[in-house]
């Protein structure tokens, strides 16, 4: 990995599907939502250890005040997104069905900033990592991995490439697109900060070619004098789903493959969402932690689809009412995109840090037909970007055949949904593979338990 060149065109990636883009909100200015009367901040808004509340019922809190944290390495603190009183700390049901403590704050409408907030002093990499950790930042693209952990690259790995993920391949979602158009300078200054501190000399902004205005805006800045060594380049990639999946984006931008079960750093890459990188630059300037975010509200049942900037913890109901409410009774309500998002049982949930969209889909858009028998057409193989055999995995999961699941590398499935999307028999392939992965995890746990039991 000695010579570092910029690819003229993206490297070849296999598979993927042409899902309808439906980027209805790409040309609409984001609107800032007024402060809701109450917000709820669940203790798990990231991958990793849940936070513990640091405030009591009745406490007065200010915007940006830390209200929950954890000592664990993989975690991210949570800050009050409104000023007001802590009303209650109660369990809520998360979209995935788990029950998690949440801090409910009744807003006083003043939105006064916490007096303790000041721009962090950042001179070294460890100070940057600490600052990012304090900001509560998690990957804003959807997965919610704590950014500070990502920046903390293990000493045995060398990272030579920073990839900025602007693929935004999920249908409907335009929050990253709007971030670029509205805050392109934040994006670039965030990139420069991260690249200087991590000593990275190649930055590739991977962006789907269905966003020409964003490509133009980024190119204008990246080619200007702000980047004298020309270390930041914009790489338009093809607009097929799932180009924004981390491993696929790395392949498209660098030609490298992340080893199975490995991390991007194993391929010498650091992948960051554009919203996260823009947030870092804002945080270093203002010291205001992650208390609000932009999200796309769209779908056939939304009266007036638009990107909104909302305080984290805002009830989804309020967000939808703010954009004009439902046009018709939605068939499905989705947190995230239609390909990988979680469908919600009701609208009584709250916006979280990693939540980039809320979609209210009509029956016409999201109708499911009953699955029929597999005809072995092999279209799922052609669609799989990881080059797996979804039909074999799904059958193995149906049989509960752990050996076959292992043989066909079930754990390498990223659940992008291409196979289910393309299946002419409408089989629930991804759902089955998820069950298969759970079976594998269970088998692993059982094996560990058995080996421990045997020794004692």
């Amino acid at each position: 990995m000695s010579e570092l060149s910029f690819p003229k065109r993206p490297y070849r990636t296999r598979g993927g599907v042409h899902a309808p883009h439906n980027k209805n909100t790409a040309h609409k200015e984001s609107v800032i939502m007024p402060v809701p009367p109450i917000v709820a901040l669940p203790m798990t808004q990231h991958i990793g250890a849940p936070c513990k509340p640091m405030v009591k019922v009745g406490d007065t809190v200010d915007v940006g005040q830390q209200i929950a944290g954890s000592e664990a390495f993989v975690s991210a603190p949570i800050h009050a997104s409104v000023s007001g009183k802590v009303k209650k700390i109660d369990k809520i049901t998360m979209p995935d069905g788990s029950r998690v403590d949440a801090i409910f704050i009744e807003s006083d409408g003043e939105q006064r900033l916490s007096p303790d907030l000041k721009p962090p002093q950042v001179e070294t990499l460890s100070e940057l990592i600490k600052a990012v950790r304090d900001s509560g930042l998690v990957g804003l693209g959807g997965a919610g991995f704590p950014t500070a952990v990502k920046l903390n690259i293990p000493s045995d790995k060398t990272v030579d490439t920073l990839i900025i993920n602007v693929a935004e391949c999920e249908p409907y979602i335009t929050s990253d697109h709007r971030e670029i158009l509205e805050n392109s300078w934040d994006v670039i200054s965030g990139i420069i900060t991260v690249k200087e501190f991590l000593n990275i000399h190649r930055v590739i902004i991977g962006i789907e070619n269905n966003k020409p205005d964003a490509i133009k805006a980024l190119r204008e800045i990246a080619d200007s004098s702000i980047d004298p060594e020309d270390e930041i380049r914009v790489l338009p990639i093809k607009a097929t789903y799932p180009q924004g999946a981390e491993k696929i984006l790395i392949k498209a931008c660098t030609g490298r493959e992340v080893p199975m079960g490995g991390l991007p750093s194993d391929a010498g890459c650091l992948v960051m969402n554009v919203g996260s990188i823009a947030f870092i630059s804002r945080y270093l300037k203002t010291g205001v932690p992650l208390v609000s975010r932009r999200l796309t509200v769209d779908g056939g049942c939304i009266a007036d689809p638009v990107n909104v900037i909302v305080p984290i913890g805002t009830p989804i109901k309020d967000v939808i009412d703010f954009v004009g409410g439902y046009k018709e009774q939605p068939y499905k309500l989705i947190m995230g995109g239609p390909m990988m998002g979680i469908s919600l049982p009701n609208d009584d949930l709250y916006v979280m840090k990693q939540n980039n969209a809320i979609l209210a889909l009509s029956a016409k858009e999201a109708m499911m037909t009953e699955p029929s028998a597999c005809i072995r057409c092999g279209k799922c193989l052609d669609a799989c970007p990881m080059r797996l055999q979804p039909l074999e995995l799904s059958n193995a999961a149906d049989r509960g055949d752990v050996d076959a699941l292992k043989h066909f590398n079930a754990m390498n499935c990223m659940e992008c949904g291409c196979c289910s999307f393309t299946c002419p028999a409408k089989r629930h392939l991804v759902q089955n593979i998820r069950i298969g992965k759970a079976l594998l995890n269970k088998a692993k746990r059982d094996a560990i338990a058995a080996s421990k039991g045997g020794k004692n």
């Binding site: 309808p20 439902y326 469908s343 029929s372 299946c423 409408k426």
Partner: protein, 316 residues
């Protein structure tokens, strides 16, 4: 919000493709060959097609009812089977023999093994072979086609197929437009190629199997000293390569598997044509490769993204 929401595992979007649409595309692709057969062999050919399609659909419906399973007539696969079987028969075959073929295809090969997607060999092909070995004279009696060259006509009701006729009897043009003896659907090469192009454009089949099949056959013909182009255009070669070997259920799903499978089909076809007593090798070779599909798939598992061969130091 009062009404309940639908909750399910992602993805929440599905493509517009469906089994029925795929089968409809295959039927559309077979139409040129079916129409050509009516032109070449007359109204009896249309009747044969009607008998086969009707009995396949009826048998499928009855079989599913008896087995107390959902009706699958709606996916149109029975129509495809019936159509393919009809196109593989001589035009003057006794209709009862044709119906017997439908019973073999739908009841024995397809439904007894679990219905669509479960059969281990191509139903139409298996039926044709059962008929061929059960009723050899009826199944190998070829009436003269419209405009067939005089040399090929043996008597008023019998003509030689291109593979049985003396060299030079049929010209390439005769073979292309179907002025030759044979099963009703296999004679007109142009119609079959048009159907194949349609299937590839509609992305119903990948071009790998037909192309590799034909290429291997051409190469093998050269090796054993036959005229490659004549071999490709005659007999059931095109019908087999485009419509039979590409049957989803009985061909490999992996890319390299398709290549191996098609090479095998081409190899055995020409070997049988050159060295066996049977005049035709397409059906037997595809059937043989059908049975090998699970083994072929086992050795052609694609390399998944990021897969590294077992422990070869700490890469890079």
């Amino acid at each position: 919000m009062d009404a309940k929401l639908h909750v399910s595992s992602s993805p929440h979007f599905r493509g517009s493709n469906s089994t029925r649409r795929i089968m409809l595309d295959v039927i559309i692709a077979l139409c040129p060959a079916a129409i050509a057969s009516c032109v070449i062999f007359g109204w009896r050919s249309l009747m044969l097609i009607a008998i086969c399609v009707a009995s396949c659909v009826l048998l499928e419906y009855v079989a599913r009812k008896i087995m107390k399973r959902d009706t699958t007539v709606g996916d149109l696969s029975a129509i495809v089977t019936g159509l393919l079987l009809a196109l593989n028969l001589p035009v003057d075959v006794n209709p009862l023999i044709a119906v017997f073929g439908c019973v073999i295809a739908i009841i024995v090969v397809k439904q007894m093994f679990g219905g669509i997607g479960m059969n281990f060999v191509n139903p139409a092909l298996a039926a044709r072979i059962v008929l061929l070995v059960s009723f050899p004279s009826a199944m190998m009696h070829w009436v003269p086609a419209l405009g067939a060259p005089e040399d090929a006509i043996i008597d008023a009701t019998t003509a030689a197929t291109p593979l049985a006729a003396a060299p030079g009897t049929y010209s390439y043009v005769d073979l292309l437009i179907g002025r030759c003896g044979g099963s009703i659907g296999e004679v007109c090469a142009v119609a079959l190629i048009a159907g194949g192009v349609y299937l590839v454009i509609r992305r119903v089949i990948s071009p790998i199997i037909p192309c590799v099949y034909l290429a291997t056959s051409a190469l093998m013909s050269l090796v054993v000293g036959l005229d490659p182009l004549y071999q490709l255009l005659s007999g059931g070669m095109l019908l087999g390569a485009i419509f039979m070997a590409t049957d989803y259920t009985t061909s490999p799903v992996t890319r390299w598997g398709k290549v191996i499978y098609a090479v095998g089909c081409g190899f055995f076809t020409i070997m049988l044509r050159a060295f066996s007593n049977m005049p035709e090798g397409v059906s037997f070779s595809i059937l043989l490769m059908n049975i090998l599909v699970p083994l072929i798939e086992r050795i052609t598992v694609p390399r998944t993204l990021g897969y590294i061969k077992k422990k070869k130091g700490d890469s890079k």
